[in-house]
């Protein structure tokens, strides 16, 4: 098969973000540096009969700022997030899509399961069980179609669904498409708006959520001995990826290179992680290898760090398998301590965290880490952000279905050429 010229380096030129600790990159980063929690009591429906009553809600998002009201009315909340962050990312990248061949602009978005989110939101409103809006959404097409329509793009567009690692995998797959010469620009990332009655009930029934209802801001506490589950949050992270060559030609700012993508499967259990951690370790190793780096080159690991017993201990073990003794020298943090678990959006939001950490020379903290669990003995950057020059960082994401995904992002020097 012939492809257009193989593009080696794939870089990030634009970013957009929406999270419980801030809408927009600047607000978000300020919250991260200050160790702010975005977790609070759920206000949108009655949680009386739920064991968990807290989540990371976005309270300062007005869809009307980003799209006409009639469009916003048709869309699910997650699609509104997707469309809004897509606009932020395009603007941040200084992209004038009118100057591109629209067949060569792709969209790759990670999200848990659109079917569940769509019907959960629709039936909640139809049953008067949701107070944020009164009209049920009507648009059931994939979010990629909605974004493509908005951009006027006509290239490849698809949803990647790997549960809690969707955002991470979507970026990895987008990188491969650019490398293969199948698209010049790909808008990629993850979105999720899971705070609805059925989704909350489903995760409650699995007994994986924190029940620290009386102290929401302390509920998400990855690696802490008193952690009691994850806290779901809503949000979106969106990135513009293009080849380094194209970015230089446009003369735009380059945030960094998506240099490595590793993906494996436990082939063990749908909802329980494998105890041996072999496949998680392998996903990290594959990503580091593809980035042409050694373990010693990694300056920061943004952990999946969900605040569940199984994940945090297991991930710590995997990092030790991968890094050996060096594991104790690499700062590892979980920004889920602040944002909550953004599910399908988590991987994308956390890759953006890595890029901002490189850009600003600051390692985000793991907040609420008061007493590390016995088997969690790495440097988790407890409670306070730390200054450090970062040249390469890792973002881990693992999802139900037993899938593991790791991205490596690298600093690019000479970020401006014109």
């Amino acid at each position: 098969m012939t492809n257009t010229t193989k593009k080696d380096k794939v870089v990030v030129t634009g970013m957009g973000i929406m999270s419980p600790i801030g809408v927009g990159i600047d607000t978000f980063w300020e919250s991260i540096v200050n160790g702010k929690s975005g977790i609070s009591e759920i206000t949108r429906f009655n949680t009386e009969r739920y064991p968990t009553k807290i989540a990371g809600e976005i309270k300062d998002f007005d869809p009307g700022e980003y799209m006409p009201d009639n469009l916003a009315d048709n869309l699910c909340r997650y699609s509104q997030f997707g469309l809004a962050t897509a606009q932020m990312a395009i603007q941040d990248a200084g992209l004038d899509l009118g100057r591109f061949n629209k067949d060569r602009v792709g969209v790759s978005i990670g999200i848990g399961t659109e079917t569940l989110l769509y019907y959960d939101e629709k039936t909640a409103i139809e049953n008067n069980n949701y107070n944020l809006r009164s009209k049920p959404p009507t648009e059931s097409r994939n979010i990629t179609s909605i974004i493509s329509d908005y951009l006027g793009s006509s290239g490849p567009g698809f949803v990647i669904a790997t549960a809690c690692s969707s955002g991470n995998q979507a970026i990895g797959i987008a990188k491969e498409m650019i490398r293969a010469g199948q698209a010049d620009i790909v808008l990629t990332g993850g979105v999720e708006a899971p705070i609805f009655p059925l989704n909350l009930a489903a995760f409650c029934s699995l007994r994986v959520l924190s029940k620290r209802n009386d102290d929401p801001s302390k509920a998400s506490r990855p690696f802490d001995k008193d952690r009691d589950g994850f806290v779901m949050g809503e949000g979106a992270g969106m990135l513009v990826l293009e080849s380094e060559e194209a970015a230089y030609k446009r003369g735009v700012r380059v945030y960094g290179e998506v240099a490595g993508y590793g993906a494996t499967s436990d082939a063990f259990h749908m909802t329980k992680p494998s105890m041996d951690k072999v496949q998680i370790s392998k996903s990290m190793l594959l990503a580091i290898e593809e980035a042409n780096l050694n373990i010693n080159d990694i300056d920061y690991i943004n952990a999946h760090g969900t605040s569940t017993r199984a994940n945090d201990s297991g991930e710590t073990k995997a990092i030790k398998i991968v890094c050996g003794k060096n594991a104790y020298n690499i700062p590892v943090s979980s920004t889920k301590s602040m944002t909550g678990h953004l599910m399908g959006a988590a991987g994308a939001v956390e890759l953006i965290v890595c890029i901002l950490a490189i850009k600003n020379g600051i390692i985000p903290p793991t907040i609420n880490l008061e007493n590390p669990a016995l088997d969690c003995d790495l440097d988790y950057v407890p409670n306070k952000a730390r200054k450090k020059e970062i040249n390469a960082a890792i973002s881990n994401s693992f999802g139900f279905g037993g899938n593991n995904s790791t991205l490596v992002v690298k600093r690019i020097n000479n970020t401006l050429t014109n």
């Binding site: 793009s153 290239g155 949803v159 669904a161 491969e176 409650c204 082939a267 496949q279 594959l286 279905g401």
Partner: protein
């Protein structure tokens, strides 16, 4: 350097049956999988393509019976068949096999039941199995567990092109990662009231007073919309070097693909649906480095849609010009209906079988070619022909288009 990627195994679950030869032989003899069913919540009798429950039960592993959603069951059965067909045994390195499976509606069956539970019995009665069973990546996850496959594992969703994206991205992974084989395709179990409701305005067959033979009838003058069906199609994509090392039979080589989306940006372009499909076919020819005159057969999308079949005919005519009247074209939807996220992979399987068996399948239920579709060379009966290069089109009603090119080897 580019690796050559081939198909070494096929697996299919469809209204025509479970298994490759069952589907192929029944199809060629003109059997239809479309029937009238009473589906709970739909009034009163509905035309659809349903997979036989009795047959399915024989194939689902006992410990999974009743514990996975219907669309995952289809994928599990089709994947197992495909892996056996590819003769992949225990000596194959399991870390070098990944699973990419697409689905548009995912676990809507269990979602419906649990929504009912939530609003009648309350949140504490919602079942813990909901989450793992509804996920778009439930099939890829369960297949990996059942068959012990430790490579990359992803669920894709893109309407009627969901399975095509599974196949295309599996191709990319084989090119760029140290992986030898990928289980790729799609699965769908959409025969639920909500789906019928939602798809009616999108061109679903709305059949009053029509005989069964005139429900799904691609390119026919009597066509009245697509007929919904269920099933799964799975292929084993493998690097040629791995297939050669193992000395296994190859169905064909994936030599190119075209992808496009007909966006609704009417302000900037005329006729985006038509143009995006033309672009899709041009891309597939270009990426496969073949001239349109070298195409021996087109397995059309041909969903039996009033507009869609006409448009596809015009698209093929526009790209192939004079050649359009020479290239045999057929659609298998007359017997199989449109299984949304599984349809692209099922079309692909029929395309590969025609390469392998040197028989081009006919379009079933095509009795009177519609004048607007008359510029193509429609096959009304199976044709013996040793084809070298074939295209498999899949144009979704939502604007997503994929065309895959396969070559015999």
């Amino acid at each position: 350097m580019q690796k050559r990627i081939v198909v070494t195994g096929l697996g299919i679950v469809s209204p025509l049956g479970i298994g490759i030869s069952e589907n192929w032989e029944r199809y060629l003899s003109g059997v239809s999988g479309i029937g009238e069913f009473e589906i709970e919540g739909i009034d009163p009798v509905t035309c659809a393509g349903k997979v036989s429950d009795n047959e399915l039960e024989e194939f689902i592993p006992e410990d999974k019976n009743g514990k996975i959603d219907r669309f995952t069951g289809f994928a599990l059965v089709a994947s197992k068949t495909a892996l056996n067909d590819a003769k992949i045994g225990d000596d194959f390195d399991r870390e070098k096999i990944g699973v990419f499976i697409g689905s548009a509606y995912s676990g809507l069956n269990i979602i419906e039941k649990q929504i009912k539970m939530l609003y009648t019995e309350g949140p504490r009665k919602v079942h813990p199995i909901l989450m793992q069973n509804n996920l778009t990546n439930a099939p890829s996850g369960e297949v990996a567990i059942e068959l012990d496959l430790k490579g990359p594992n992803i669920g894709f969703s893109c309407g009627a092109c969901s399975s095509d994206y599974g196949i295309i991205q599996a191709y990319n992974i084989l090119q760029q990662h140290d992986i030898d084989a990928m289980i790729a395709g799609g699965t769908e179990a959409p025969l639920l009231p909500r789906v019928f409701e939602e798809l009616r305005p999108k061109g679903l067959f709305n059949g009053d007073n029509a005989s069964l033979s005139q429900t799904s009838c691609p390119f026919d003058i009597a066509r009245k919309g697509f007929v919904l069906s269920e099933g799964a199609g799975i292929v084993v994509l493998e690097t040629l070097s791995s297939a050669e090392k193992r000395g296994v039979d190859v169905y064909g080589e994936l030599i190119g693909f075209g992808i496009s989306y007909g966006n609704n940006d009417y302000t900037n372009q005329k006729n985006p649906g038509f143009n995006s499909k033309v672009s899709c076919i041009k891309q597939v020819l270009e990426s496969a480095s073949i001239d349109s005159s070298k195409v021996d057969y087109v397995n059309a999308s041909g969903i039996s849609g009033i507009e869609e079949d006409m448009e596809e005919s015009e698209v093929i005519k526009s790209v192939f010009g004079k050649e359009a009247g020479r290239i045999p074209v057929s659609s298998i939807k007359g017997s199989l209906g449109l299984s949304i996220g599984a349809s692209g992979a099922i079309d692909t399987i029929f395309s590969l079988l025609s390469l392998k068996k040197n028989i081009l399948p006919q379009t079933n239920r095509l009795e009177n070619i519609a004048p607007v579709c008359n510029s193509l060379f429609h096959l009304s009966k199976p044709e013996e022909k040793s084809a070298n290069v074939i295209l498999s089109n899949n144009f979704g009603y939502g604007g997503n288009n994929v065309s895959l090119a396969f070559k015999s080897i």
